[in-house]
Homo-oligomer: 280 residues x 2
């Protein structure tokens, strides 16, 4: 088990926000994550964990700084864990565009050079990071997963591919059908190669349409989101859910855009949704 | 009255966060500010206003993104206004250091060249901006003022120098005695010159010790604040309040630092404090 290096810590709502760096075997390099430990989170009172996956260009910091999630997490007794969106460093493959490479890991396991050397975020998020969290912090092994945009895609893919690992899934403004939108097509072509059959394994709409195990799933989408039509396309996810009978609740909110102002407005409802299923 | 140019807007908690740029006569140049208009803020139901003054290096954005204030503001029906921390632009005097010049206006009226040409943030914040807000938005003329660090100093100075303009004052981690701390001494020497008697007019501890009109005042200070001993020194403010019989509530919080994680933890209490006095 790798050693955690504390980067910084801040008291917040009576609990602690802490940032760590550590060596990750999954990504073959260093990873950074943030954790919020509510007041009273101790070995004799372990708490369940919500994993948050951020969007393009983000780090572990955006959610902790901007979502306003810690207030409700402190009240409920829910640990929050927010990993960085990719491996980083001068030895990690990158691209000049914001939507590929560092900051744009897409929560998958890349199979194509040069990306396959480090970009194994799916293994990191679903296996290595939970194992690390559960060995190093006073938490239960009850997990839920949420995220925004690229991280909404990530949350859905994690929960759909590894349903036994999570109690519930939620997403804000997810990239719902990445194999058929510009962000996803570009990322999948680089990370996974030209065989588009391989893309289906990382496409929420595809995975939901043939899910064998189902999890309670909440998706919020703003109707003034500038990426709604071209990139996010939640209607495909809804169609897959309808076809499969998947327990998806898709809520559409007039006036709200793609920003953290939207996330902040509804994060409390997501935390209560997850908590209800974690404690059921 | 100057024309407002809308920079951006986001729906948030059922209300609107909007950023504007406009020409300011006070600072002889352009200023930027953000406003949060709660749901139901309309000409037939005008709402009171809390002015928020940010700290060194900040713009209008830090508070709106990180404080988590809009949730409670939306619930109460309290308009939030957050101006930038200085005039900006290539024609505005600046300094390579973060604690002088652009981003470091200290909410005073500079008397020394080259600063006196634009740095009149006190007039802007106490007079021009409220007049603009009250002419352009559905608000009452009831105002309170709050801020953080340099902006906590600003909030105290505004409320102490212009008590008839405000109903209540609050601050997080204010620079409480700027004429005797490094940040304040440096700023005052450049903006106000070498005559230290002139500095007393911009020093909260000095102003509180001889206030003729008093306002309900709430100050929160984290005891793990890295700037507490050298820069902030709230004990001087407490001594002045005790001497004068000023209604200051100074709360000290073990473990909390100088960051927005501290502000987020207690902003709801500040908003409720101001709302109570605004509606009294």
């Amino acid at each position: 088990m790798s050693t955690l290096t504390l980067i910084s810590q801040n008291q917040c709502f009576g609990g602690w926000h802490r940032r760590f760096r550590h060596h990750s075997d999954s990504v073959n390099g260093d990873m950074t994550f943030a954790v919020f430990l509510p007041p009273g989170c101790q070995p004799e009172t372990p708490m369940p964990v919500l994993y948050w996956l951020s969007g393009l260009t983000c780090t572990d910091e955006n959610f902790m700084q901007k979502a306003g999630a810690m207030r409700t997490a402190a009240e409920l007794g829910l640990v929050l864990v927010a990993p960085d969106t990719s491996p980083r460093g001068s030895d990690v493959a990158d691209d000049a565009d914001y939507d590929l490479g560092q900051g744009a890991g897409f929560y998958l396991n890349a199979t194509q050079a040069p990306w396959s050397q480090h970009y194994r975020m799916f293994d990191y998020v679903t296996e290595e990071l939970p194992a690390l969290i559960e060995s190093q912090f006073p938490v239960t092994n009850l997990r839920s997963v949420s995220g925004h945009s690229m991280g909404g895609h990530g949350a859905l893919v994690c929960g759909l591919k590894q349903p036994e690992r999570y109690r519930s899934i939620s997403a804000f403004s997810p990239i719902s059908h990445p194999r058929q939108c510009p962000w996803g097509e570009k990322a999948f072509r680089h990370y996974l190669g030209d065989d588009q059959d391989s893309w289906k394994e990382w496409d929420s709409t595809e995975l939901m349409s043939r899910a064998s195990i189902t999890l309670p799933t909440l998706v919020d989408q703003g109707l003034a989101d500038e990426f709604l039509q071209q990139q996010l396309q939640p209607q495909h996810l809804q169609q897959a859910a309808d076809m499969r009978g998947y327990p998806l609740t898709l809520r559409q909110h007039p006036g709200y855009d793609h920003s953290y102002y939207f996330i902040a407005s509804f994060i409390e409802e997501h935390l209560r949704f997850h908590y209800q299923h974690l404690m059921a």
